[in-house]
Symmetry: C2
Subunit: 256 residues, 2 copies
DNA sequence: CGTCTCGTTCGGACGGGCCGAACGAGTGTT
DNA sequence: AACACTCGTTCGGCCCGTCCGAACGAGACG
């Protein structure tokens, strides 16, 4: 519980400002100089200089009097996820899984104690999605996250869970002991459920991706509304398909 | 010392350094402090401070004694391309096109005088690809780029073409007048060919995406080896499919 | 024509980022 | 076991780069 001691010595303020500007633009789709200066509490001239620099580097682009994110980030993002063997390994297999189940599917890896979706496959039923590539989610409130936690080494799990278990819905597991019990169950049977623990009305089935039965690479899941995800289908058939896909992906990730 | 001359006034050096480091990591998959300091001509301590800052922000992650790109860039990249209506409009349609043609397909937009692939669909024949999401290409040496140049407004075309027309293969159109003539042809018939002008052995067929017959949003293409892309198929049938898809995408991009 | 607000430029001041040297930890060699 | 080399990290100090506020020019609106 260190209180934000990240203002450590030797920290580059200008870099923080630049990325603050970038994130502001991301959250607003496009921003102008004054707006950024106000929101970030910096002077207009400073904001201007940063934007000019970022534009020169190609990371932001001007559109009239506003700035938007440049596509150079697309390249960086692609490299970031290409590092993960899990990404390549899951592409074809996830598409098949989603087709078989008929619900949305996603691939997650962990970074800084949170889950990040690195691949997502939409299903036929074009459900408006709140999550997209690059979205980060709480590990304890998702089937992918719980799958990950159940199978990562204990040390890492402690580190991650020592944070707060935010309650996102009434069904979110906010109690540490209850979560550990749930993880034990998941570890035993090999897959995880998510019953409206992150979004009311949504269920999911997830499974971990293990490389050579030692290290965990991430997790996959399929998710859909409670109206369709129910009964034997939800409790037995889907888990079977998900774990099967996870096994294949794990093998493909190991040998590539 | 370093008289780049490119040092515009009011430019933030620390930001340039930070992104220089990020790009170094991108190009090497992962880098250490000393390696970065050497390659960028900065001191170890400076490199260290930048990396510490970037890690604190979540844009790079430590793996042992090296740093790799963080998945936060994935989120930024996704936002950058989500801005383009062309992205959403082309997703389903491009998949259908690729399936029909049986060759790789890509969607391009222009940024800073270069073409950037914002979407790519692989074909059955898993041809190892040099290009990926976020790749930038010369506009004059690709079917997408030529389609774009042929249909963008004249002012913008002049600006872009006043640069050098780099010859990438023996067939690249390196002469300005020859290129203008080619663009006139493309403008007339509505689609573009690329006959080994960027990569020897590769051909492509591209077409522009116009929103409401006024502004150009980008271009699409399908590409494959000369062994398969030939004859009537290449010269007539594929262009028909590509232009048809382009028309549909243009309409979908306009009304969304 | 006045009065907003926008982005841009300028000069000055202060603090922050830069470097080089020294430290500590890890690795492989003799 | 001790060496020599590497790595990443820390520390101190100098100087430049970065920040701010004020002023300027360009549009938009009434």
């Amino acid at each position: 519980m260190d209180m934000d001691g990240r203002d450590a010595a030797g920290s580059i303020g200008a870099t923080k400002t630049s990325f603050g500007i970038v994130e502001h633009i991301r959250d607003h789709d496009a921003s102008g100089v004054s707006e950024i200066a106000n929101d970030l509490g910096i002077s207009k001239s400073t904001a201007h200089n940063h934007l000019k620099t970022l534009a020169g580097l190609g990371y932001v682009v001007r559109q009239g009097d506003e700035y938007a994110l440049g596509l150079k980030f697309l390249d960086l993002g692609d490299h970031a996820r290409t590092r993960h063997a899990l990404y390549h390994a899951s592409i074809g297999e996830m598409d098949d899984l989603v087709e078989a189940v008929g619900e949305r599917g996603q691939v997650m890896v962990e970074e800084n104690g949170r889950g990040v979706y690195i691949y997502q496959v939409k299903s036929e039923q074009g459900l408006q999605t709140d999550s997209h590539i690059g979205t980060t989610v709480d590990l304890h409130a998702t089937s992918v996250g719980k799958s990950y936690l159940a199978f990562c080494d204990e040390k890492r799990r402690k580190e991650i869970l020592d944070g707060e278990l935010t309650r996102l819905t009434t069904k979110t597991i906010g109690d540490r002991d209850a979560l550990e019990a749930e993880l034990a169950t998941i570890r035993e049977r090999g897959y995880a459920f998510n019953d409206e623990e992150r979004i009311t009305g949504m269920r999911a089935v997830g499974a971990p991706i293990l490389s050579d039965d030692e290290t965990i690479l991430g997790a996959i899941s399929v998710s859909g509304p409670t109206t369709r995800m129910k009964g034997e289908w939800y409790h037995t058939e889907v888990p079977e398909m998900v774990t099967q896909a996870a096994r294949v992906i794990g093998i493909r990730a190991t040998y590539s």
